[in-house]
Structure formats: structure tokens, C-alpha cells
Symmetry: D2
Subunit: 352 residues, 4 copies
């Protein structure tokens, strides 16, 4: 079977691997719409450590081709949306009921790229299919559905972590696709003012359509001062959906006492956060610092699909570049790696 | 001083009373926009027990005419929005930090109509002015601002009690002005499907504009069956913003296990709720039944004003009937008492 | 295989049934310590509708005799504690992360007595063994462990629902074994005053040892008045662990505005709750009414076992009557059915 | 009037100042039992910036000598417990209902030492007396009551921030008086294993009495490794009640994914936290980092007094050194500054 991924660290390319075999609870899916994500390119470059002979990709809509003997809800031919996070629902951190991304350990529910090959393949494997796959609704386009599995779930998770309330002033740093979803998600939690930090015209335009009220650019000087001056002081919540370790420090310094900093950024293993104590009220400001991972599973994605169905947000706007054909995964991936100024999210449509 | 209210139970009329005097922390306000509410007419009819010689009204925007010696933020001439709930912020139930409507006792923070005269007067009294008044922003119309002080705060409180989450299916029973705000507030908390129960064409129209996806009428048979059939089973949350004691029973019977029923309805003292145990999972369904009161105070209203300022919702749509002049309070009140089919909310504009 | 249960509604007796067969994720367990529960006798009498040829029992410690092909953590011979609630962890209400007792539907995670035979048998079946069984720790007695699977988990759940905070005044109505665990659990959540409603001297004695500070008897007049007079007004929280539909009404009438009534009582299908609106602040008191079911699964029980291990509470005190031998299940069951005054909880010890 | 405090930074001594005058809502109190705190000595040394001519002290029980004209609940002669945090309850961050230590700004509710003189004086000032003073109960010793106003409220706040649940494994770093209260508070929230980090024999002894199950010393090597080895992996929660900026890093590295680090430590303005991203799951571990300040006000302290009254915890155990007479404030303060190995908390008893 053919797949696209890391030949060795830093070297992307086509791979030939065995077709995956489903366990009794699992399914095999053939992708029909795929999207590369910056986590894929990050992994290719070794951001999470050395990798070789690994198929990349974790965002997919597809068609079931095979199911394990204990699968009851799905059968070959079913069109499905595939959460990028597919928990083993028996894990101890899930039994505790707080977050589902860490089944038996940290980020353990994220199986693609880590425990097994990803979705950029002729076939890929989905564990616990009954609990982790969602039937693609007839009235939702595959590409909009595709945007729920990571972009929307992650962006919205940031908003949930930030506990955005009615009329609050929220800052979103980074307006790539996840940050844009955090903007839309903040408006959908009743935020008043939404100040975004970003520069790309394409992204700024969509940010405004999704509800951003003010745009601050890194290029125009210190963003903390700019934002505090705009807001007339500190803000209720800061969501980090881009940037680097220094962004966390900025976030802490612009949030109000009793406020929340919520990050869904994927920092580099080599990063170190440095936060001067005085910025965090000498430890006593009741400012929470939170950082989380995309929630997954079927029920999560079904709810996000409802957001689309009832026209609360259209995440398909994120898709700026479209490719046709399995072999175009390579072009889409290389585009994501280059990140030209007009790119938000590419998608690859495949007909088998 | 002239005011309009209850002469004696069941008999509305004009009253002559002493002009109120501010305590050291208080302010006296002259109304410039007022709205009657069904709680006013309910009180006139004796719904909360016998009343006499009481000025009604609890929704107002106005101008400060006098302040007590300890008031620092406001001075005569300031244009202000007046929350209908004005807590004594030192109360024990407020110190506990959960809700602010019950300062020293049940609904104790609701001072108008209960502890003192209301806002349908040449002058009215506001306790703890610094904490309870809000400067009317230049960029918000007085009538939109007026809709925040009770309608929006109460309707949104229902949504907060219901803990509406992304993509959830929410039922709102009753689409008078509070129910309509609950619809808008549910959409602003990320609800997917919003099923409303109501019939008045005017209200149905606005409900749809605010985000309702389905309308169920009491006239077309059992609403529980209708809603469960629409939703394909039980729903995530039910918000009660109208109806009677039986509505609570219906709500319990259509909400999912682990769901929430949230009521902001003002039931009659003579009502009795009757809930068959089997509908509530024999007591074991983890279905919460909640009923709350409009949160107040300056910070609450400032946040709701931000909702308007940043164009998340326009509550001025609720106002269907406009009156000019202090003496028109009577017409507006009588209209509210009659509730003609095309009425949502009347407002009275006063120039002094 | 022999088991004890309902021959037909109202008629308990020994049954002969097929030995259960494990699915791939399941285990078969042989009980070594068992406890009858009033839910068992309630079911025998038809409290949950007619039943026949059903083995009862849902509290057990035992030994694994057989496991399905996908079970990884357990093998024949392992000594295990068996939660009375054994969720299918893939259920939609579990994916939502709030409560685990309702996997695919109301109380769906409670399999014994409903979806299959119970634990009063030579062998019983446990679904999803890896996620639902717990190894019996060496340093915890089997009988103490047995008390975690329902009594402690249910009693503590009531306290969790009531969100008991430091120094609060908590009422616990009913001091059978679940109520006693709610007393212990309230002290373990920092309650100050704990007022219990009950009369049996045995139970009162243990209630005091577990932390009760005041005892009110049904026999000495209106308990609402008595408790309000003791507490100098309404109380912070009321936990219902016994009584009938009227107890809920009493609870609502004695809890403070913003307080919580938390029930874990198993009401009768024929019960109807009737709550006068004025007692519930005409619907606006922000008093929550909650009713829940015992949480289950391995992680829950492991945490409760830690409570025993670190000597925070000794639930073995609940066991007042001990029986030896499989055939004594009958005596223990009949004793539970009669509920003599000195009974709290019987246990049956079995050597194979 | 005489008082003890900072003559100039680094130089403690007696001061002569004007007797404070109450505003209309305030009271003047004469101390009868006082306790120095390490925050007092820290402030003297300039830890929070340069200070001069400032009376120190923020823990006191005393007698009202004068009240403002609007005070209703207290009168001269009343014996009172004085919260160290006395909010202006109208503050915006209090209206939001989450924490009460930050009324109009960061730590704004902490008035002693910052906005005005402290309690080491013949007379001291208490703002908003009705909401911030508590009558000393007859059945609680003044010295036990004294321990609630900062030590217990702060230590318990750490536990609240950590959301300690039934059976959890909690680490408490630092077992000075606040850490010891965090131990007692963790047991009172149902913690199973409580691992403390500390060395002083006196403190270790009391820690065990309050519920510590394991003691780890800084002197025996890397505490993270020691604790993870004891716990068999990462722990549920870490509470920081002592240490320095590096302690936060250690805490993050030993807490589980989805866990919480809760700090109530008073870090130095010169400290900088440095957290390697890989320890915090590259930002995606759903580990919350929280740091808070002692909640105050009358209702908080009343609840903590109930903890003493109903014998849940005896905080008077913290007092290891007793002094008699106003002039002994100096000795007590110098002792606190030296922190000999056998000191936990000194108290000064004053008869006027």
C-alpha cells in the first residue's frame, strides 16, 4: 500500500507499507478528503523527535473498507468523518471524565503519527470504530466536515479552557486555521470584543468574518501594550493558538487578575517558558495557565457537525487551496510546509 | 412626586408619593426610557401577594439627579443604565460567589417592587450606586441598553444555568421577550439545534432571527412527543421561559439523562410542581432541575452591553411598541396587561 | 449453575441457570464476598416492574475464573473488586464526560439485575473487564473493599452532587448504609455541621462516628422545623439517602437560596414528587435539585480503595451481620428483606 | 498611638502614628491576639519593594472600639475575628463571583500592609465592617480563631484550587503553617495519599497528625524522582506552599496529564519561573497551573470557624510559641524573622 510521510527525519516522500489490519473493535478506512496540518510538517522536520518510515496525516473523511468482528455501527461502504483523536475509551484519564485526549497517558488518545501510520495512505486504521467514527451527514459537505476533526475541535477547546463568558474581551494570538476557529468559537460562547494578533491579509479577513473586532500586528510594536491600550487595561481571557514560548509570557502579562490563559499551541520540545513572577502577581493573582489538546471521539465530532448543520459557523472557509487526486497529497503537503502568505488550509479530494 | 403602580391589588393607577432620598451610598435617578414587564402586571394582580400604594417598574435607563455622600463614580446629570437587580454586595449569599440575586436572602437583591417603589416614577432610588449603576455608552441606543437590565440578563441566565455547550440541542419553552433572549443566548453559547415552543407569529419571526431552528406549537398536540420526534429522542437541555407548573414536568420528561432543565419562569405562589418519579429516572437520572433569578449589578450589565456594542445580538428588536411621554406609562402598562398578539415588549421614552 | 434471585415477582428462591460465557472483552468471576442490598429486595418485590428467573446481587468481591480473548489486565485466579456499575465506556453519555452511570442510556451502565443476571451466583459475568475490574489490594480487607462498590460510591456521589464545601451545614436524610457513607463523605469534603435524620440506634451510633453532629428523628415532629431551628435557618445542602417522594419536598423547603438538594434515593416507579412553587422560590431561588446514580468503573473504585488504605474512613463498620457459605445467601437476603432494627448491612463470605 | 512595623526597609521597630479613624462603613479594632506571619517579615525586608513608617501585622482577633455611622452589626466591645483579606465587596472582580481577593485589582482586597497600617497596633482599621468582621464564637478559643484568618484560609484555598477529589494522591511542598493547613485541608477534601515535602521535625509531626502519609526531604536527593517512585508515577495534584520558583517547575514535572498544580506561595518579585515545554506536554497536557491568594470576608471565616467548632481540624496546633503583652509583639516578630527549627507559628496575647 502507498502512503505519504517521513522517509527519514527532514525527508518527506512516498512510502510502501503493509495494508493495516483491523483488530476486532477497529475499522479500516480509505480517505476521500484529506488535509495536511502544520503538525504533520512539524513532525517531518523532527519537531517531536526523529521519525522514519512513517505515514503522516491525521485529518480525514473517508469510506470504511473493512471492520473488525465486534464493530456494530459501521460496515464497508459507509462514509465517515474521522476524529484526529481516537481515544481508547477505557483509559484511566478518560474514566476521570475531564478530558479525553490522554486515555492511558499524555496525549495517548492521539494515535495517528505516534502509535501508528497516519491518514495519507490508501488505507488507514481507526481504533474503537463504534466510539470514534461518525457517519458523514448527507447535508454537510465532506470538506466542512473535515474541518471539524482537528481545526474546529482544537480551536473550540481553547475557548472551553478559557471559559469564555458573555461579553468578555478575549485575545486570540495566532490566526492560522486553529486560531480562526478559536475566534469563531469565542463568538459562539458570547465574547464581546475579540482582539486577534496576526498579519496575513487572508487570515485577517476571515478572522473578521468569524467575529474578530480588532486586529493587532506583531509588526507594529509591543503587542501587550497595544492590546492593553485598546482594551483600556487587562483583558478577560487570552487564547494562544500560535506563537512561541514568549507568547505565553505576553499572555500572562495582559490577562486580568482571576483571568485565564488558554493555550492549544504545539510548542517545540526545545522551548522553555520563562515567566517573571511579578507578571503573575507573585504567584497570587488567581490567573490560571492552561494548555490542552484537541478532544476527540464520535460524540464530540457529532456536536461540531451540528454547529455546521445549523449554520452557526462555516469552517469550510478555512480551505484556501484544493487538490484533486491521491498523488496530490505531496503537493498539498509541500505547500503546507512552505506556508505561502495566502494559505490557510489545503485539502486533497480523492476519488477511488 | 408622581408615579404609576398599584393603588390596591388589582387596581393600577397613578400615585402621589414622597420623592425618594438617597442614603450615603445611593443615587436618585430620573427615568428617560422605561419598559413595563409582565412581572409588573403580575404584581398588580396580586401574583406575589396583596400590594397597595406601590409604584411599579424595574426596567429603566435614566439620568442621575442626586447622589449620596459616599458615591464616587456618578454625579447628577450622568446618563445611566439601571440593572433591575441591585444587590447589597455585602450579603452572605453573594460572598459565597455563586449567584448575586439573593444578597441577604431569597431574591433579596431585587429591591424594586419589593423593598421599595419601582422605576415608573419621576424619580427612583438606586442602592449602592457605584456598584449597581452603569454609564450609558455613547455608542449604544438607550432602548437597546434598556433590554439588558432584565430581559437579556434573565434570558441569558437561563442559558448559563443550562450550561449550553457546543452543538447541543436546546429547547426553549416560551418565546416572550425572556424566551427570545434565551434563544439568542443559546446560539451565543454554541447551541446547534434550538427548538422553541410558541405560537405568536411576531415572536416566532424574531425567534428565528435569533437562532431558533424549529418551532413547535402548543396547538398541534403533545409538545413532548413532537419535540422528541423532531430530535430523534431526548434533548440536551430544556430552558423554561414561560408556561406553568406543568411545563417543568414536560421539560423533565424530554431532557436526556445527565441533562439540565433550567427555568427562569416566575411561577405563581399557588402553583405546585408534580413530577412522576419514573420521568426523573426514579431519582437517579442525573438530570438537574434548576430555577434561577436575573443576575444584576454593574459588571453584569456592562458585559451585556458589550454583546450589543460588538453586534453579537440586537435586543432592541424586542421592542414592538413605543410610547412618548411620562404619562404614557399608563398606556404601555395597560398594553402589557392585555398582551395583544403582536406585542413583545413596549417601551416608554421620556423627555424632561 | 446455581444462583439466588427472583423466581417470579415477589418470590425469591434458588435458580438453575447456564454458566455465563465471556465475550472477548469480558470476564467471568466467582464471588468470595457478597452483600445483598435493598435494591435487590426492592427488585424482587417488583419495585422496578415484574421480573422472573433473574439472579439478584450486584455487590461482590471475587476471583476471576475466565477471561475473553481481548482482556489484558486480568487472568483466572486474580482476586478482584467488582464495581456494581460497569459501563460500556464507549457510550455517548460517557463520552460527554459528566457521569458514567448512563453509558448508552439512562442507568445503562448498571448491568446486573437489568441486562443480565447478578452476582448471587456460582459465576457471574463482567463486561469490559480491563476497565471495570480492580485488583483487590493486599492491604485492604475484602469486606471493606466490598463496601466501596455501591455503598461508598453512591453515598459519596451524593456529596459530590451536593458540592459540599468547607464548613457547610449539611443535612443527610436516611442513615442506612448509603446515608452513613454520605455522612462520612460529607465530613471528607469539609462539612462543618452534619445533621442526620434517622432513628435506629445502631445507625445513629455509626453516624456519629462518621461525623454526624446532630440527630433528628422522624418521631419527634416535623423535621423541617426541627432542622431549621437547630441550624438557625436554612441549611447549605441537603442529601437524600432514604425516605420517599415527600422527603424531596422537605429538602427543598429547608435548603438555602443558592443551595443544592442532592438525592441518591431509589424512588418507586409509582411515586410522584409534589413541590409547592413557593417552597422553591416561585422557581427563582437558584436552588438546584439533583438526583444521581452510583458512578462505577475501575478508576472510581481504585480511588475509593485509597480512602480505606489511607485510613480516611472505614466502611467495614457498616457490616453488622456476617454469613458463611454460598447457601447462606438466602439467609442474608431474607434478613435484608426484613430489615431488623439492628441491621445495617449483611455480608456473605464464600470459600470455594 | 503605638505600633510595630517597618521604620525603613530592613529595619523593624516601634512607630508612633495617628489613631485610625473609621469611615461610615468601617470599624476600629483593638487586638487581643495577634500572630506575625512570614509575609510581615518578608515585607520588612523589602520583598514587596521599599517600605517605611508602616505598621505590620494582618492576623488578629480583637475587640471593636469604634464603628462608623452605617455599621449595623457591630458595636464597641464586640469581640471579633478579623479576616486578613477584607474586600471592598463592590469591586468588579468580586462581582464576577470567582475569587474575592482582588476586589478592584490584583490582591486589592488585601488592605493591611499595602493600603494602610496593619494589626500590630493599639488600634487598627477594618473596612466594610459588617461584611468583613466575624463575632468570635463563645465556644472557639481566640487562638484557634486567629489561625483561620490567613493560615487556614490560604492553605484551604490551595486545596480548592487543586480541586482535590476523593482518594486522590496529593503532594504538598512546604510544611510551614500554610502547608500544614493545606495538608489538613486535603484530608478534608477526601485525599487518599498525602505526600509532604519538608524536614523540620516539629512540622513533620504535625503534618502526620493532619493527615500526611509520606514525608520526603529535600536533603535526600531529587524530590521529583522520590515522589514519582513512591507514587508509582505522576500524582493527581501538587500544592505549593513553600519553596521558590524552581518548585513550580518540579510540580509541573510530577503531576499527571489532566492534573493541577496549585500554588499559594508568595514568590519574590525578582523570581522568574522557567518551565521546559516538554515537562508541560509541549503545552498540550491539560495540566493547569494555578496560583491564588487567601480568600477573605466574614462568610469565609465563619465557615472556617465551623470547621473548628465541629472538630474537623484543630489549627491551634500550629501555635508553638506564645507571648503575653502588647510589647512582646517585637519578640514574636523577631522570632518569626529568625525562624528557629522548632517554630511553626507564634502568637501574642494582649490584655488591655
Amino acid at each position: 500500500m502507498k502512503g505519504y510521510g517521513v522517509v527519514k527525519t527532514g525527508q518527506p516522500g512516498w512510502l510502501d507499507k503493509e495494508k493495516p489490519v483491523p483488530g476486532p473493535l477497529d475499522a479500516i478506512v480509505r480517505p476521500t478528503v484529506l488535509a495536511p496540518c502544520s503538525s504533520d510538517t512539524h513532525t517531518m522536520h523532527g519537531g517531536a523527535g526523529p521519525r522514519e518510515n512513517l505515514i503522516l496525516g491525521h485529518e480525514a473523511v473517508g469510506e470504511v473498507t473493512e471492520v473488525g468482528g465486534l464493530v456494530r455501527k459501521f460496515k464497508p461502504g459507509d462514509k465517515v468523518v474521522v476524529p484526529c483523536v481516537t481515544p481508547d475509551w477505557t483509559g484511566r484519564y478518560i474514566q476521570e471524565g475531564k478530558y479525553n485526549a490522554h486515555d492511558h497517558g499524555m496525549m495517548g488518545s492521539f494515535k495517528f503519527l505516534t502509535a501508528k501510520d497516519g491518514t495519507f495512505a490508501e488505507f488507514f486504521h481507526v481504533n474503537m470504530a463504534d466510539a470514534n467514527l461518525v457517519s458523514l451527514p448527507n447535508d454537510i459537505s465532506p470538506e466542512a466536515a473535515l474541518m471539524t476533526v482537528d481545526m474546529m475541535s482544537t480551536g473550540f477547546h481553547a475557548v472551553e479552557l478559557a471559559e469564555v463568558g458573555y461579553g468578555e474581551t478575549v485575545v486570540v494570538t495566532g490566526i492560522g486555521p486553529v486560531g480562526l476557529m478559536a475566534v469563531a468559537g469565542s463568538r459562539l460562547k458570547g465574547a464581546g470584543r475579540i482582539i486577534v494578533v496576526g498579519t496575513r491579509p487572508n487570515c485577517v479577513k476571515i478572522a473578521k468574518e468569524y467575529g474578530a473586532t480588532d486586529v493587532v500586528s506583531y509588526k507594529d510594536g509591543d503587542i501587550v501594550e497595544r492590546i492593553k491600550s485598546l482594551a483600556g487595561g487587562s483583558v478577560d481571557k487570552v487564547i494562544i493558538a500560535g506563537g512561541n514560548a514568549a507568547t505565553l509570557t505576553q499572555a500572562v502579562s495582559m490577562v486580568k487578575p482571576t483571568g485565564i490563559v488558554a493555550s492549544v499551541n504545539y510548542y517545540d520540545a526545545a522551548d522553555t517558558f520563562t515567566i517573571p513572577a511579578f507578571m503573575w502577581g507573585l504567584g497570587m493573582a488567581n490567573i490560571d495557565i492552561r494548555g490542552g489538546f484537541c478532544p476527540g471521539g464520535a460524540v464530540r465530532i457529532e456536536k461540531l457537525l451540528n454547529i455546521i448543520k445549523y449554520e452557526r459557523v462555516d469552517p469550510a472557509k478555512l480551505i484556501t487551496h484544493r487538490f484533486d487526486g491521491f498523488e496530490k497529497i505531496e503537493d498539498a503537503f509541500m505547500l503546507m510546509d512552505k506556508k505561502p502568505a495566502d494559505l490557510i488550509k489545503p485539502a486533497v479530494f480523492i476519488t477511488w
